[in-house]
């Protein structure tokens, strides 16, 4: 809008930009599938994911933003009660091995945070992310992995079972598989990174043996940055 008062003082026309300060909605999705329960030592991935998500939610809520979940279960609201509701939500009982984000109730121009190990179906994840990006949602993908999943320190004849026991893979020589597994993991990470870049989101991989505070730092800064 033309700012007539200012423009009158000079010859040019000045335009006034107004900002409307409104609380940002940040919608979280933490993967609660059984694969997140894997913990080789220390905390499990789910615990770390939930810790990071809740910490950011607390920070945001203290700053006055609205936090909620990305599916229809908890619409974004401000207040302390929302945090405990989020905490309850993050502790749902897992029902299947790998999950993908539910991005049903994303408000446009809000922020989405997906914290998971992203071992699930990539196509579904891509669909959710692009659907969210179509709604002008800015987001961050935080991949939480276990150090064993990153280094694959196994050898010998091994029978791998998933956390719920449904999936199985037998290997005669696990150290021979290492290179292949690591390359598959790397491909997945590259795919995630390119997906995030393509929609303007942030992506980061965090392992549970790193300090949680470093993951939190990244997550907080990722939410600050909007292109």
């Amino acid at each position: 809008m033309i700012d007539w008062r200012r423009s009158a003082r000079a010859d040019d026309r000045y335009v006034r930009e107004n900002e409307w300060q409104a609380a940002q909605s940040v919608q979280f999705w933490v993967d609660t599938s059984t694969s997140m329960l894997f913990a080789s030592q220390g905390v499990s991935k789910h615990q770390r994911a939930a810790t990071l998500a809740l910490s950011v939610a607390i920070l945001l809520s203290n700053a006055g933003e609205k936090v909620g979940s990305s599916d229809k279960l908890l619409p974004a609201k401000s207040g302390r009660a929302q945090i405990s509701a989020l905490a309850h939500l993050f502790n749902r009982t897992p029902d299947h091995d790998f999950g993908s984000p539910q991005a049903d109730d994303l408000k446009p121009h809000s922020i989405a945070v997906f914290v998971s190990d992203f071992f699930g179906d990539f196509a579904e994840l891509e669909r959710s992310v692009t659907a969210a990006a179509d709604q002008q949602v800015y987001g961050a993908l935080l991949m939480v992995l276990d150090p064993q999943e990153v280094s694959f320190p196994f050898s010998g004849r091994t029978l791998f079972e998933s956390m719920s026991g449904d999936l199985r893979h037998e290997s005669q020589k696990a150290d021979g598989l290492r290179a292949k597994y690591l390359s598959v993991l790397h491909d997945r990470q590259v795919a995630l990174a390119s997906l995030a870049q393509s929609v303007g989101w942030q992506f980061h991989c965090h392992t549970t043996d790193q300090l949680a505070s470093s993951g939190l730092m990244w997550l907080y800064q990722a939410l600050e940055y909007r292109r």
Binding site: F98, L159, Q172, K173, G176, Y181
Partner: protein, 915 residues
């Protein structure tokens, strides 16, 4: 035993198990190791991946090899492999082990016994029955039985000091078939060949000859200037140096080697001699001659009376200077007759009596200077031989009195026969009677007596006569005087009155008489005439043993028999004569045995057979352990913790000594970081523990009650630890302690000078009453003698120790009796008026000495409870409390000096003391 070259097996059929190994191989190869189950979050990513190596579900070949090796080692180990098995035919017949067991086997007797035991053991493993026969001591019948019995017999077998006899022949004649294993020496003995043929008739004979070369000593020749030693050996071919020791009593009565000489065999010499010049006294003292280094009876030569020669003194009162009349002199013939058999000495009578000879010959001496001394000498066992002559005849004897130095009373005058003025012809000698010492000597006709002195007839005359002329006139008379005797020849010692001195009879008579006076040389006759009793026996190893009462052996028997079990080698005694029988005679030679070709000789240096079974089993176990580790690593379980733990265990095991030794620096840091009380390690483990516990208890009490907070005490050894870190050194005195050496004393002195205090605790105040010094007290004095201690005195009632923390009047420990000694006051101070104490010592007493055993009173166990009982009941506990208070006072005194002697405390002390 199956023998495959150098390796033999005791149970070879077990080796069939080796056939199963390939089957095992196939089986193991087909069964792979079980997989590990893992929960993994990223299984989704793994789903599409496949393994490279599709064959990996079979066991790798090197694991199979390892396991096959385990099985092979086990099988081989259990089948009892033996390296270098003894090459004896695998028979099952009986075995007779024969050992000669004579002095020729004594040097390597142990090796022979070991070999015999080994052979018996080997026979036992085949189930053969074994018997043992020792040729020098055949014990009853030969019975074939279990090898253990034979082994027991072999263990207790000892060599004997005689050669084998053929007596064993009849023992084995009646037995059935058996094989023989004979451990033989290299020397031949009569009956050897017969025994060999007899044994060959019963079965196979294997002979293991001994490997030590025999050597022996022949009889010693006695020369005028010493002795001559002869040695012989069996085999020539190498030069050989040997040492011969002459053993005898030294002047102080201890038996030791009087002289050592060396003999050398040249390359092809079998016999060697060496003359040893010895003074006559040393020669008389020799009891035996031995070859050093050769433990056999043939290397020992026992000496008897034959080696000794009597000492005879000949005195004749001859005037010196009349050399031209040698043949007329009295002692010429005496000297010629006696010098081969005796050592002659001369001089004046007094000198001769000092030399104490065995016999004194006085040739025509009427005036005797030292009558009493001579009489004493005769009474103590000397033989006095007197010859008559003109002087004796002319001497005025009272024919009514007995002269102690003449055997009979003499008539004045004499008689001459066969001269111009007499009737009759010169007389010859009558045959000697039985009771005389001359019995058995022939009386030749040419011995004529022309003049002699006559004996006074009397009732006792016949008893004294030992030689007569053919008309009955006494020629030689004898009287026993005490333990000795006096003999008078009624003729001269030269040819004036008779031709006896130039006859051989004279020599024999004098020899016989010298034998009486001294049991020295004798002839074969003496040997056969007497019955001899064995007093010392020579065993096969060459050592002499005294034997108790054994039956006497007749002399003829002894002369005829060689060295046997009834007449063994050793020293025989008859009356007061000693005669030694030795192994080798004058004409002995060593002859080597020869064996017929049917006999199989084994070298004793055959390689020892070794059982290898144990090694194979150990190898199997090790490989099994390796296999376990390999299996673990294959299935991925061997990582991280267990590896580190294993490596740690191995490293700790290897370097335990490094870990155990605390470095000096660590110790110094520990000692100086806090207050540490120290005790001297006495070496007695119990006392060191009590010291430690005591100082721990004291440290606990100090921690609880005062501001001093010591940590746990340290034991120090004076030689190796630094003392300067510790304020107090508790030193319990035990009897087994080492006294401190010079360096340690220096360290202690430096410590004391630098302000340290040593608490000496002799722990004996319960028994050291009334100033009696105990062993601990003496030890303390010895230790304290090396230290620079100030003068000490008993503790005084106003010493600062009585008030340095608690107010105390007594200083008990486990006992309450002893007095405490501290540094004496410098000067006799007088108490300043108004002060309850004197200002005595400026510094701290460097030493406190007592015997109350304080460590036992202070001692606590790990829970802090008192360790040792003190006294009884409540009074004991009170005593313990006072002992702790004394300890606290002591430490306070050490650390704070005479602080409580300061005037500032006086009002408080006065108030406390006034209560």
């Amino acid at each position: 035993m199956n023998v495959f070259g150098v390796l033999g097996f005791t149970t070879p059929w077990l080796l069939l198990g080796l056939l199963a190994v390939p089957i095992l191989w196939m089986l193991l190869r087909a069964v792979p190791p079980a997989p590990t189950r893992r929960r993994f979050g990223g299984v989704a990513l793994l789903l599409r991946l496949t393994d490279d190596d599709l064959q990996a579900d079979k066991t790798p070949w090197w694991i199979l090899l390892l396991r096959a090796l385990v099985v092979v080692s086990l099988i081989v180990g259990l089948s009892g492999p033996v390296l270098n098995p003894i090459a004896m035919a695998d028979k099952t017949s009986d075995l007779l082990i024969v050992m000669e067991g004579s002095w020729a086997d004594a040097p390597d007797w142990a090796a022979q016994k070991e070999e015999a035991l080994r052979v018996a053991q080997q026979a036992a493993t085949y189930g053969r029955k074994v018997a043992f026969l020792q040729l020098t001591a055949p014990s009853g019948a030969v019975v074939f039985s279990a090898a253990s019995l034979a082994q027991k017999q072999i263990q207790t077998a000892e060599p004997k000091a005689w050669r084998p006899t053929a007596g064993a022949l009849e023992l084995i004649a009646g037995l059935g078939d058996f094989d023989s294993y004979w451990m033989a020496s290299e020397l031949d003995w009569p009956g050897h060949a017969e025994l060999v043929t007899e044994l060959l008739a019963h079965g196979q004979v294997v002979v293991s000859p001994s490997k030590t070369s025999s050597i022996g000593l022949l009889p010693i020749t006695v020369l005028a200037r010493g002795i001559e030693v002869h040695a012989i050996r069996l085999q020539a071919g190498k030069p050989w140096q040997i040492r011969v020791d002459l053993i005898g009593l030294d002047p102080s009565g201890i038996e030791r080697s009087l002289q050592t000489i060396g003999l050398a065999f040249e390359v092809d010499e079998l016999r060697v001699s060496q003359v040893v010049e010895l003074p006559q006294e040393m020669r008389n003292r020799i009891s035996r001659v031995i070859l050093t280094g050769h433990r056999s009876a043939s290397a020992v030569r026992l000496a008897d009376d034959r080696i000794k020669r009597p000492e005879i003194a000949i005195l004749s009162g001859k005037i010196a200077g009349r050399e031209g009349l040698t043949l007329l002199s009295s002692d010429h013939y005496l000297t010629q007759a006696l010098s081969p058999v005796a050592d002659l000495i001369g001089g004046t009578l007094e000198d001769v009596l000092l030399a104490n000879p065995d016999m004194i010959v006085l040739a025509d001496m009427a005036q005797i200077g030292a009558k009493a001394a001579l009489e004493d000498w005769v009474t103590q066992g000397g033989t006095l031989i007197r010859f008559a002559g003109p002087r004796l005849a002319a001497a005025s004897f009272n024919s009514q009195e007995d002269n102690p130095l003449l055997p009979v009373r003499l008539r004045a005058g004499g008689r001459t026969v066969g001269g111009a003025m007499s009737w009759g012809a010169p007389k010859t000698l009558q045959a000697f009677e039985v009771h005389t010492p001359f019995y058995g000597l022939p009386t030749p006709d040419e011995v004529r007596v022309t003049a002699q002195v006559l004996a006074e007839p009397g009732p006792n005359l016949a008893a004294h006569v030992i030689a007569r002329l053919n008309d009955g006139t006494p020629l030689v008379t004898r009287k026993l005087l005490g333990q000795g005797q006096v003999v008078l020849f009624h003729v001269t010692a030269n040819t004036d009155w008779s031709n006896l001195p130039i006859s051989g009879l004279f020599v024999s008579m004098l020899e016989r008489l010298s034998v009486i006076g001294f049991s020295g040389s004798f002839e074969q006759q003496v040997l056969t005439d007497n019955t001899w009793q064995l007093v010392q026996v020579l065993d096969a190893f060459g050592s002499l043993k005294n034997v108790g009462d054994r039956a006497g052996v007749k002399g003829e028997f002894l002369a005829l028999e060689g060295v046997t079990s009834e007449t063994p080698a050793g020293v025989y005694q008859a009356d007061d004569r000693r005669w030694a029988r030795n192994i080798l005679k004058q004409d002995s030679v060593f002859t080597a045995t020869s064996w017929p070709t049917a006999v199989q000789l084994v070298g004793q240096v055959a390689p020892r057979s070794k059982a290898l079974g144990a090694w194979f089993l150990v190898a199997a176990l090790t490989l099994l352990a390796v296999d376990i580790l390999v299996a673990l690593s294959i299935s991925g379980k061997l990582r991280g913790g267990p590896i580190v733990a294993l490596a740690c265990v191995v490293m700790v095991g290897l370097s335990a000594e490094d870990l155990a030794a605390q470095t000096a620096q660590d110790r110094a840091i520990q000692a100086t970081r806090d207050v540490v009380l120290a005790y001297v390690k006495t070496g007695d483990v119990a006392q060191d523990e009590i010291s430690h516990a005591g100082l721990t208890g004291l440290s606990l009490a100090l921690n609880q009650r005062t501001s001093i907070e010591p940590v746990s005490p340290m034991g120090i050894s004076l030689g190796s630890n630094e003392l300067a870190f510790y304020p107090l050194l508790y030193w319990p005195i035990t009897l087994g302690q080492n006294r401190p050496n010079v360096d340690e004393l220096r360290k202690l002195n430096r410590y004391i000078k630098g302000g340290g205090m040593i608490l000496f605790d002799t722990r004996d105040s319960e028994i050291a009453l009334f100033g009696k010094s105990t062993k601990e007290g003496r030890l303390l004095q010895e230790i304290a003698a090396g230290l620079n201690l100030p003068p000490i005195s008993p503790i005084l009632q106003d010493h600062v120790l009585t008030r340095s923390f608690y107010l105390l009047q007594e200083f008990p420990g486990r006992s309450a009796r002893g007095t405490i000694w501290v540094e004496a006051p410098q000067s006799s101070e007088h108490a300043i008026e108004g002060m309850p104490f004197r200002n005595l010592n400026d510094g701290v007493t460097p030493v406190v000495i007592g015997g109350n055993d304080w460590a036992a009173a202070w001692a606590v166990d790990k829970a802090g409870q008192p360790l040792l009982p003190i006294g009884r009941g409540m009074s004991g506990e009170r005593q313990r409390e006072i002992a702790l208070r004394f300890g606290i006072n002591l430490i306070m005194h050490v650390l704070t000096g005479n602080y409580k002697s300061d005037q500032v405390h006086v009002p408080e002390l006065l108030k406390r003391l006034g209560e």
